[in-house]
Symmetry: C2
Subunit: 121 residues, 2 copies
Amino acid sequence: MSAVNIAEKFDGITKHWFPHIVAEANGQHVRLAKLKDEFVWHSHADEDELFIVVKGTLQVHFRDRVETVNEGELLVIPKGVEHKPIAEDEVLLINITKAEAKHTGDVESDVTVDIQQMPRA
Amino acid sequence: MSAVNIAEKFDGITKHWFPHIVAEANGQHVRLAKLKDEFVWHSHADEDELFIVVKGTLQVHFRDRVETVNEGELLVIPKGVEHKPIAEDEVLLINITKAEAKHTGDVESDVTVDIQQMPRA
């Protein structure tokens, strides 16, 4: 494969909470997403999630605390842990997780994007 | 876990080609490394590698071509493919691969760092 310019791929994303798959390695997807406002509470039974915040400030709400992830920071959401991401202002996020991981985990919501429908940017 | 500031972790790295493990998810390590000059030719029989260049320009030599990975770009090195990274000027790299992956792959070299010896920053 060729090098992928992350900023250019983000430029092609027009919809919030709509992951684009830009690479795959070891059965995991590298997904880029633009986030704004609130997502749904959810967890992933079998998948950890690695978040890298490229722009903005992400608040990851857990049931017992809130973790702030600033630009240039990363956070791992362990499997099975309920969380709810909130982006007061727009956040650009790299999300690395297993290729079979639904982004809303075990919750089916009107924001759920089927993995087959995620654009491969 | 808590958010990890990537720049701060890089500040703590003093040696080139000496990966620091800053997170683990789905059996994969997030390793940060500072690169300068040439690494050894090697491949990884069972592990893809995801490179994200945070600073600088990395030249990844393959046997038949060279791929340039600029700041803000990512590249996947598929398992089994021989490669040799070269950083003419210093490069700051995020390397995500399986936790059991040796950074020099199947090659034992004087630059090889045993995984157990990689600092957990």
